[in-house]
Subunit: 193 residues, 2 copies
Amino acid sequence: MPYGDGMNARVRSEERRAEIVGAALEVIAERGYRGASLAAVAERVGLTQQGLLHYFPTKDALLVAVLQERDRWDAVPDTRWRIDLLASLVEYNAMRPAIIQTFSALLGESVTEGHPARAYFTERYAQVRENMTAVLRAEYGDRLPNGLTPERTAPLLIAVMDGLQYQWLLDPESVDMPGAFRDFLRLLGEPVE
Amino acid sequence: MPYGDGMNARVRSEERRAEIVGAALEVIAERGYRGASLAAVAERVGLTQQGLLHYFPTKDALLVAVLQERDRWDAVPDTRWRIDLLASLVEYNAMRPAIIQTFSALLGESVTEGHPARAYFTERYAQVRENMTAVLRAEYGDRLPNGLTPERTAPLLIAVMDGLQYQWLLDPESVDMPGAFRDFLRLLGEPVE
DNA sequence: TCCGCTACCTGTAGAGCGGTAGGTTTTGTT
DNA sequence: AACAAAACCTACCGCTCTACAGGTAGCGGA
C-alpha cells in the first residue's frame, strides 16, 4: 500500500505518532506505565517494537508525548472556566473511563521514587491549584459562603475530583461520580452574585 | 510437649515474616508493586530471593500479606470512630509518608486490569464507605447541616482524604494535608448536638 | 535517473524477572 | 544419638523487557 494518498511525509509521520500515542494511552490504562511494554503498544498499531522506537527513541520519550497530549487535551483555550463547567467536565469524564484510568494509574505510579512522570504531576498540580483558585475567586470573591478562602478550597476541589475517580474506577456501579461531585459543589455554597 | 519457651520456632518464623512484610512495604513505596522485585525485598532483610520464597511462595502471596497487614493496622477494634478522630488520623498519616506512599501507589496500580490488589481495594472502599456513613450518621443524624445525607457524604470524605494524599506526596511543601482536611470538615458544618 | 531520507524490518545484546529443583546447614524433639 | 523439619542456599530455566546495530525498500526532490 503506497503512501501516495495526497498527504506529504510530515503529515503522515505526525499522524502515525498520534496513533502510537493513542495506543500507548490504552496500554497504560490496562497495565500502568511500568507494566506497559513497547511491544504491546507497537502491536496495537501494527508495528514491531523496533519500528515504534523509530518514532519514539525511548520508552520515556513516549511517556512524555502521552503527557503532552493530555496537556493539549484539557487546555481549554480562552474559555472562562466556571464552576458549573467543572461539573460538566466530570460528567464527560464519566463517559471516558479509559482516559481517566490512564491518568489515575499514572498518578499512582508517579508518587514512587524516580518515576519519570513525577515532575510532570508535581508541576501540573501546582498549576491546577492556581488555576482553580482563580476560578473560585472569580465565582465567589475572596471568601466562600462557608468562610474558606479560594486558596484553601482549591486543593479540596481537586482532591475530591481525583479521589472520586479512584472510587469510581474500582466500582462504577456503587459510585455516582458526577452526582457526588455536584454534592460537593453544593457543599461549597451558592455564589452570591 | 511442644514449644516450651517463649522464643520457639513458630514465633521466630512469624517475626521473620513480619520483617519481610515490612521490607515489602518499603520497596513497594519506592517502586510500586510491579516495580518491586522479590530480590530487592529479600536483600533488605538479608536473604536471597529464593530464601524469601521460602516464606512467601509467590509474589502475590507477599502482596496479600502486605494488604492483610494494613487491615490489621487500621482496624480500630471497638473504638467509636468520631469525626475529629479522623482529623487526628490524617495528622498521624502526615508523619508516616512511607505507609501512605505504599498504599497510594498500590491504589493507583490497582485500577489497571487484572491487578492482584484490585479486588482488595474494591471491597475495602465499599466497606469504608459503609463505615464512614455510620460515623457521619452517629455524629450528624440523618441530615448534615448542609442538607446532604451521610450516604452521599461518605464518598466525598474518602475522596478528599485520598486526593489530598496524592497532592501531598507529590509536593509536601505546598500542601498542608491535615489543615486542608480540617477545612473540609468545617465545610461539613458543626454537628448539632 | 540518481540520491538521500523516512519508515520500517531482522537480529541480538544484556539485564532482570518470578519461579523450580535440589541440596545443605541449623534447630528442635525424642 | 537419631531423626525430622525448618531455614536457608546455589544453580538454573524460560521468559520478558528496553535498546542498539545494521539492513532494506520505497518515496520525493534535484
